[in-house]
């Protein structure tokens, strides 16, 4: 049995080699189908992995409140209309009233130029309470974060992002140096690890964090804030809390039923959803494309096998003469069609993985091998090989030896 299987394999490969061009054409359909299935599985998994990483980097269980109107897109949140109605007091009330909220981080963010010696850099200033470092998972490369006392004392100290340090200080130790932010000398007390662009489209490495009170009194002299992060306990339904915050804030702001919100509340999920809708659309298209390619591939193999069987009448005849049974003939041709389909599948997996590597590299996604889709591809390839080969193989058994050997 083993010997005969080896023999079939040998014959199958010999035929592949003889009819290279024809076989390559017939396995292209399967190749493309498997390629798109594998590449899509890998890339979308890599994208999800990246999103998961981003979420955990951004901070867990977060609800984001912003004053004014904010427009949510897959790339983040865009300010639509400003408002000055959100006060520090509002955040305190929300935190007190809603027990599910573990931490509240009021903040004021804006863009200022920062200067050190003769170098200037446009940075994002964020005045926030010190708990922002824990809530948003901000880890320092060097130095220390500011404290509640620093905030109360309105100390002019700053924790800067990696690029701020890298661009302005180069190799100099920045700790204890003074950065001119909006012409206010601010002492650098810490530098943040390199973080990249966050979920809302904000380059984390261009951030400068300073105590909120310092910002509101010494830099900007405002009595309102731009927003707040709320962190809930684990396992809380963020959607519900979002609604509670909204209702509470509308009451605090004395908004009538007819009036629109003068603030926006969203979670990372809201941003995620718009992204996932994109991925879902692509996934439906990919599946349709794969199915069509598999069908075309199957038809290609079917046609080639019919041709191959017809061309090899003599071979079938002589096999029958020397004692092959019908099932031997069927098995032999099925072996061939399955091998063609599997070669298409294997090259499809290879090409799919190459595409994955390229797309992951260009898109900055982590490489992920979607094993499920790879096994599925092999399974479907074998299935297509059998389905496309069975009819031609049965045709092959219908030849009568003494007729084809005339």
């Amino acid at each position: 049995m083993m010997y005969s299987f080896n023999f079939y394999l040998k014959i199958a490969f010999q035929n592949l080699v003889i009819h290279k061009a024809r076989m390559i054409l017939s396995l292209l359909g399967i190749l493309f189908a498997v390629m798109s299935l594998v590449a899509f599985g890998n890339i979308s998994s890599g994208m999800k992995l990246k999103i998961d990483n981003e979420i955990s980097r951004f901070g867990k269980n977060l609800i984001i409140l912003r004053s004014g109107l904010v427009f949510i897109t897959g790339r983040g949140a865009r300010q639509f209309a400003e408002s000055k109605t959100l006060k520090l007091e509002d955040i305190k009330i929300i935190k007190e009233r809603l027990s599910e909220i573990k931490e509240a981080v009021p903040f004021f963010d804006t863009t200022y130029p920062a200067r050190y010696r003769e170098n200037t850099l446009k940075v994002s200033i964020m005045g926030a309470t010190p708990n922002i470092f824990t809530v948003r998972n901000i880890e320092l490369m060097v130095g220390k974060p500011f404290t509640d006392k620093d905030n109360e004392d309105t100390l002019k100290s700053a924790v800067v992002g990696f690029k701020v340090y890298d661009n302005l200080f180069k190799s100099e130790n920045p700790i204890g140096k003074y950065l001119l932010i909006y012409r206010v000398p601010t002492e650098i007390i810490g530098v943040i690890d390199e973080k990249g662009v966050d979920f809302t489209g904000q380059d984390q490495d261009l951030q400068v964090y300073i105590p909120l009170n310092t910002f509101m009194r010494r830099y900007s002299n405002v009595d309102y804030i731009k927003g707040a992060y709320f962190q809930t306990e684990d396992g809380v339904n963020l959607g519900e809390i979002k609604q509670k915050i909204r209702n509470l804030l509308r009451r605090i702001h004395n908004l009538k039923d007819t009036q629109k919100d003068d603030f926006s509340i969203f979670t990372l999920d809201d941003i995620l959803k718009t992204r996932e809708e994109g991925i879902r659309l692509v996934s439906v298209l990919t599946i349709i494309a794969s199915i069509v390619s598999f069908l075309i591939g199957g038809l290609g193999i079917f046609a080639i096998m019919l041709l191959s069987v017809a061309e090899r009448k003599m071979e079938i005849g002589i096999r029958r003469v020397v004692g092959s049974k019908k099932k031997d003939i069927i098995f032999q041709f099925l072996t061939e069609s399955v091998i063609v389909a599997m070669i298409g599948g294997i090259f499809g997996i290879l090409v799919g993985c190459i595409i994955t590597v390229i797309v992951d590299f260009l898109g900055g996604f982590p490489f992920f091998l979607h094993i499920g889709n790879i096994f599925l591809s092999i399974f479907i390839s074998v299935f297509i090989g059998i389905a496309a080969g069975i009819y031609p193989a049965i045709q092959g058994t219908k030849f009568v030896p003494i007729e084809v050997l005339q």
């Binding site: 005969s4 014959i11 002589i318 003469v321 020397v322 004692g323 003494i402």
Partner: protein, 224 residues
């Protein structure tokens, strides 16, 4: 080994019956070397196909190896062919993409005989037929005589009791043809039963027994 009783064979073209064999009674014993001689259309190839279990008679009884084989289906006949009969054809019928050695090995794929070391055996056969240097050549790289010797090796690989050769020299020049016939004579001396079908009167000298077939009947049966 072979016993034919009142074998008739007709083909039907539409309603018309075309009789090919018109009543053949024949017994061939183990160890014989028989030449079937006849012009084309005499029915000799049809007779050989029936003897070789490739075709079935319309009437009559056929006992092969003392067993009536008339009721057997295609699949069972295939098993008997594989076990007992080696075939040699005028056009050799070697598979073009397999080399000589692989062609010789084809019957092994379907064999239930459990031949030991089939590859070595195939090499021995080819060596014996003067093809030691040709084992890895494709049929297209071999001469007609060489191809026919590969085909004979293929017929022998599974240790058959009977060898059926249909016009084995038909595609060869007379010198090569004679060499092939000598080969059959040698194999017969080793104990194989051999039936050669031909239209060529010059081959008559190679047989121990000559059976002439004319118009679907045996017209002459001489044992020398």
């Amino acid at each position: 080994m072979i016993r034919l009783k009142g074998i008739k064979k007709s083909y039907f073209i539409g309603e018309r019956e075309l009789p090919i064999l018109k009543g053949i009674d024949l017994t061939i014993e183990s160890g014989e070397l028989v030449i079937f001689m006849g012009v084309s259309g005499s029915g000799k190839t049809t007779l050989m196909n029936i003897i070789g279990l490739l075709d079935k008679q319309t009437e009559g009884e056929y006992f092969f190896m003392e067993k009536n084989v008339d009721g057997l289906d295609d699949e069972n006949l295939a098993v008997l062919r594989n076990e007992y009969i080696g075939f040699v054809f005028q056009q050799f019928f070697l598979l073009p993409y397999l080399n000589a050695l692989e062609n010789v090995l084809i019957p092994i794929v379907y064999s239930k005989k459990n031949i030991k070391h089939p590859k070595e055996k195939a090499k021995q056969l080819l060596t014996r037929f003067g093809l030691a240097e040709r084992t890895h050549n494709k049929p297209s790289q071999l001469s007609g005589g060489e191809q026919q010797r590969v085909a004979i090796a293929r017929a022998l690989i599974n240790d058959p009791d009977l060898i059926l050769a249909d016009e084995p020299t038909g595609a060869l020049d007379s010198k090569t043809g004679n060499e092939i016939m000598e080969l059959f004579r040698m194999l017969n001396e080793e104990g194989k039963t051999i039936i050669v079908v031909t239209h060529d009167p010059k081959l008559a000298q190679f047989g121990k027994r000559l059976i002439r077939i004319e118009d679907g009947v045996i017209s002459q049966d001489i044992t020398s």
